[in-house]
Amino acid sequence: MDIKKHFFRKFVFPRILIIDRPGLIVSKNFNNLNSRAHKMRVVYNFEDFYVNLYFDTLKKLGKEKTEKMWYKMGKDLGIRYFLFNGLTSFPFSKVTLALKYFQAMFIMIGMGFCKNLNYNISTKKYIFWGNNNIITRKTKNTSYIEGILAGVLSFITKENLESKGFYDEFSGEGKIIVDKKFPQRYSPDFLSLKIDSRYKFNFYQPNKITSNLHSFSDLLKFKIIQIDEGKKFYFGKYSLLPTEISLIEIIAKTYFDMGEGELFRRSTIKFIKNLCFDIFKNFGDANKKMKFFRNIISAFGFGEIYFRKEGNNIRVDFLNFIFTEFGLYYLKSFVNGFVNYFYEGEYSFDFDKNYFSGHKEYFIYKKLK
């Protein structure tokens, strides 16, 4: 299966994969509205990460706060995605085209609610419905997807639109309505979501591949990653979601900004530790575990990763390192989970400190106990 076939070449923002090498996946969006192309750093992330985070948040903060938080994150994501295409506003004449594009793209990444769309451009009411929607199918909650669709349509229509979601647990059918008449819930700050010029650091490629790590295409070729009929990617029993890297870090930053950074960190670490226990249950050799993990992280686009023990601390180096305007809280927490598992202890990291050495970025994980 050719991974490139999974990216769209039509519509307003045709999207193709231009780099797929160990540690680095980059796609390019062609914006037919301003005839410019924009590159995005893509990673593959576990759907269950979002699901676990949702349930951990629900447990600690309750339904109302959790839904508010996830709606906000979804809406920020919807806006941020548009900003990637170099747009600050959207011409009214292209609304239908844009809707078709986003509908197709969302279906591709597994947003089953977008399979059907009914809309009235003049009244600004849009109804999406379908089933088997990513994340919702497991959380039974629509707030994140509500936010995404409200964000996208707010950008397209130049008005802050809100949405409501309905989900039937038994049939798995869901409906999201975005409507101008809905009362205001959250107004995104466009400035805080804009693309920084340093984002280009994400595309740096060393002249040659020096590691023996593998690319996402390699894993597809060898069926380590599989694609189901619905075009969803699977790593064993775990489904994977392709996403622009900063869209995950927006989630992490939202938690930290709302004083729930530790909740985010602990939930991510717990998820990764459980994942490691599961995937490594038949691995006897510690070196093999390390090699496998490094390969997976690299192939998923998070950078070429190297672990080194320095006294009581663990230094983790990244080649093809990631830059986002929202920090690297997710990446640090994700790796923290593996460090805790592999080095059998409790480690933690400094949220604000990143170290650089040549073309490498590294984090230090300090042993707590």
Partner: protein, 227 residues
Amino acid sequence: MKREGIGIKKIDEMVQGGFPKGSVIGISGPPGVGKSIFALHFILEGARSGQKGVYVCLEEPRKNVDNTIKGFSFADEFYEFEKKGLIVIKCFNYSEYEKITLELLEKIYDDKKIERVVVDSFNCFFNSLERNSSEEININVRKLINSSFAYLRKDNLNVLLILEKHENVLINFDYNIPYLVDGMIKLDYLDLGIIERRIFIPKMRWTNQYKESKGYEITKNGIDVEE
């Protein structure tokens, strides 16, 4: 189209029951993926159906070939067929095979009883030439390959050529072999801490071959393909 069984049931199923009768098939892959083991299955399966097969080994001395065969559960059966003359193993060293390439192939061509041939590896016939890349040498290699194919293509002769794929692409001269052969089997692996091996069949003339790849293991029974 008549088919010739390979001796690995699940691979036979991937190519509608076996290789097309009278075809020349290439099998390629990096070191350690089981190309020679695949070839042993192929020769053994021919002997089981009464076909005489010749295994031409250009890289290893006979004792190394024996060490490989003895590692598998079919070893006794294999040697029984060798005693009966249905399997012939011919090992040549570098100084020998450089001189006898076409002579050897001519002998195989003339022996009407031979129905299966394995050349392990076919690259060895022009290994010494491929180190240089001058235009003249390139032409000579191509001529040698074309002449070899002229001998290998005859009715009832089923040929398996092992093609080495170097890790370093710069010295991986495959010339026009992938175009000349009737089918290509690719064995490959991925080292992720655990080794994942897969078989790919990118080309098989006159065959509606299996389009996906299949995983396999090398076990006591030889090549063991997953469902």
